[in-house]
Structures are given as structure tokens and as C-alpha cells.
Amino acid sequence: MNWNRIIFILLLLTLIVLGIIFYSPIFIYLIISIIVSYIFDPIVSWLEFKGMARWIAILCVYAVIAGLIAWLVITYIPRLIEQGNQLIKFISRTDVPLDQAIVQLPLVHSIYEFILKVDQTIPQLNLLPQFNQLIELGVQKLGELPQILLSNFQSIISTVALVFTIPFFSYFLLKDKRKIRQALVSLAPNKYFELTLILFNKVDENIGTYLRAILLEMINVGILSTIALTIVGVPYSIVIGAIAGLLNIIPYLGPWIGGFVAGFVILVSGLPPIMIVWMAMAILIVQFLDNYIFYPLIVGRTIRMHPLVVLMTVIAGSYFGGVIWMLISVPLVYMTYSLIMALHKNLKEFRII
């Protein structure tokens, strides 16, 4: 190892670090673009093999997606906004103070009366002030909700900007997929060439399958939940359906959380509590349909992770970085796990370790 070589490597490392710092603001854009390109790649490749130029195939896919989004915006979004508005209106109504409004809800009211009765029979207990305090706390948190939306105005704007940047990024990622891959593989030294190729294919396949499966699952469960909840008669069914679909990324736990959200909404909106049972049944049916009919149909093979590992991963994710990390930690851990397994197997087969 001569000095020139060491200096060159040091310079190169400095440059890489500087590059990472310089490009760090767009990493998130890049990651989302990669996800988008993975989702569309099978369709584009299929069209390409049918004899269409790759860039035309991408533009065709984009046109279809744009049409779909336009259709969704026209039909679905107004109802979503309307339902969301109703929820916010309930939270921020001014004619009655919110804590009184909540106390007036049938279920809460019956609990309130029950506690009042208990307090009257056993005067020393003084449960009522505590109950009131609890409601006040809940009201305070609910009241902060519009505030949170307003104070995050800037990030909402940047999200809109992001939506317009991502198609450009993913266009080039899709179009030059082969070239990018060839360039990356060419970096590997000869000794590790085949190994790199195997790992590349493995990661490619895993990420691709996983992302597409997650997306289809989300859409599928979202639509099914919306339909089921609408049949049962739960209010804000579209919002809850969308939430349930999103939460379905977390295996085992997601559907439960979705169920709790639905149950909470039923309680808040003052419907008879028996509705919760119907809602639970609806969600169970959706999960059954999803797990035993649609999931095997869409994905083919299930990703097996022990419930304990999932639970630990989700909790650790929530400590690490909140809701977003709760959602992405499980796929991340799964991918890392499968990569390490493939790496170990192949390193042994190529007699490197």
C-alpha cells in the first residue's frame, strides 16, 4: 500500500461524504421514486417485451395512472373531505363546549350517570372529578388536531412539491433500469462479480415483490374495509377504510389498530355500542377474505415472521421514529433478514467465508 494510493482513497472517501451531505435533502425523494419505479416495473417490462419502446411504455403507464388519479379525485376525494370535515366540525364546534358535547354522547353519558350514581352512594370515592379530568384531557388532545394540521402547513406544501418531482425521478429510474444496474454491477471486482449479481437479483426480487404486494394489499384491504363498514353502517367509512388499508402494512397488529380506530369513531359519533360488534365482525370477515383468498392470490407466498418479532419490531420502530417508522420497520427488517440469509448462503458457496 503506497502513500499515493492511500491519499487517493482518502480523497475519494471525502468526496463521497461531501456528496452524501450535498444530496441528503433529496434522499427521501429518491427512495420514494425507487419505490414507485419498482411498482411500475413489471408493467413497463411487459409492454417492452410486447415490442413497445421503453420510454413510450412508461409514458403510457403514466397516462393511465394520471387518468385513474383524476377519476379518484373526482369521485372519491369530495366524499373523503366531506367525511373528514364532519369529524373536524364535531371536534371544533363552538355552540356547545366540546367536553359537554362529549358528555352528551349516549355512551359517555350513561357512564357519566353511572359514576354519578356511584358517587352518590359512596360519597368518599369522588370519582366524578377524575372522570371530568379525563374527558378534559381527551378534549385538549382532540382540540390540538386542527392546530397540528395548520402548523404543519409548510410540510404539506413540500409534500405537494414532492408529488410533482417524483414522476420525473422514477421516469429515468424506469427507463434506464438496465443501465443503472449494469453500472452498479460493473463496480464489483471480478472475484465478487457473480456474488454481487446474485445479491442484486435477490434484493431486486424481494423488494419488488414486497412493495407490489404491500401496495395491492393496501388497496385491496382499503376497498374491502370501506365496503364492509358501509354495509354495517359505520360513519366515515371511507376514512376508516383508508386507514385500515394503510395500517395493513403492519402484519398481525395493523388490522387490530384499524379496528380500534373504527371502534373509537363509533363511540365518539354516538351510535349504539352494539355497532362495535358488527364492525368487528365486518373487519374479521375482511381479514379472513384477505388472508385466505386475496393475499395468496396476489402474493402467492406469504412472508413468514413470528408475531413476537413483528411486535418487537413495531414497538422499537415507534420508539425510533414514530408512526412512519412503525409502518416501514417491518418490511425493512424483513428485507435485511432475507438479504443476510442470501449473503451468508452465497458467501459460503463461493468459499469467501
Binding site: 417485451f49 462479480f193 449479481l197
Partner: protein, 157 residues
């Protein structure tokens, strides 16, 4: 006027590079320009120095190599007598692809060698996705193997 317009268009959209050089390999001989482009998109070009080991016996098979230039020597520990020397335009790894997922021989570059590699998964995808291309390639593979069999043991099968 119309002519200059055509020239102008051609300047903006230069005609795509045609990879006819791939036709020198037996199994791509019958492909047309478009199919060659598909093949080319999957290829990786690797350069080996003289005496460098390309792969060893018993390694998992991931790629098929085409020799663009240079010489490659194939040896086997199990059968010390067999020793093959392959030259430009030859392909190796093809029989291993069909017979099993392990390398049966060790490959070593004799001189500075440029190889084109195609991953077996890409190769399979090419064949599966485009039946006409696949038929041509597989037909050529059969021809190549028939030739090899005839040369090697003179059996009529």
C-alpha cells in the same frame, strides 16, 4: 425540403445502435436487431487479466460467459485429463446451466480476456417473456450441443 426535414429528424433522433457484433456467437446468430438489443441490455462486460481465475469448480452457477477476446482454460480436479481451451466467440457455462446449478470445471484466463456475462435469471426471463426469441435461442443451443456431442464422442443419438 422534405429531405432536409428527414435529415433534421435523424439528427435529433439518431438511429439506435445495432449490436450486430453479438451475432458472432452461435446461439445469437439467428436473432434480429430488436432481439439483439434485448440481449445486449442484459449483458455485463468483464475484463480479466492473464492467469486470473474466473470461477472455481463447485461454485454456484449464476452467469454464462461469452468470450469477446482472449483465451480461457477450463480444468477439472475430478477428471484431471479433461482440459479445454476456449477461444474468441466461444461460450461456456451453457451446459452447466441445463445440467445443474454447479460449476463442473475451473475457468482461468490464459491471456488478458474480455468476457460478456449474462445472468441465468435474465437468460431465462428473455426466453420466457419473448417466445419467438426464446425458441431461436433454444434452437441454437440445441445445435451447439449436438455439434459438441458429435465432436466429443462420435455417438449417434
Amino acid at each position: 425540403m422534405a429531405n432536409s426535414f428527414v435529415v433534421f429528424i435523424k439528427k435529433i433522433f439518431p438511429p439506435k445502435e445495432v449490436h450486430t457484433e453479438l451475432k458472432k456467437y452461435q446461439i445469437f446468430k439467428t436473432l434480429n436487431d430488436k432481439e439483439l438489443q434485448f440481449v445486449y441490455n442484459c449483458l455485463h462486460r468483464r475484463e480479466f487479466e492473464a492467469e486470473e481465475i474466473i470461477f472455481e469448480e463447485g461454485f454456484p452457477l449464476e452467469v454464462i460467459y461469452f468470450i469477446e477476446s482472449g483465451e480461457v482454460e477450463l480444468t477439472s480436479k475430478k477428471e484431471p485429463k479433461t482440459k479445454l481451451i476456449l477461444k474468441e466467440n466461444d461460450v461456456f457455462g451453457l451446459i452447466d446451466l441445463f445440467s445443474g446449478q454447479k460449476r463442473r470445471m475451473t475457468a482461468k484466463a490464459l491471456s488478458d480476456t474480455t468476457l460478456l456475462a449474462i445472468a441465468d435469471s435474465d437468460f431465462e426471463e428473455l426466453i420466457n417473456r419473448q417466445p419467438s426469441l426464446g425458441t431461436k435461442i433454444l434452437w441454437s443451443c440445441c445445435q451447439l450441443m449436438a455439434k459438441t456431442i458429435q465432436e466429443k464422442n462420435q455417438v449417434y443419438n
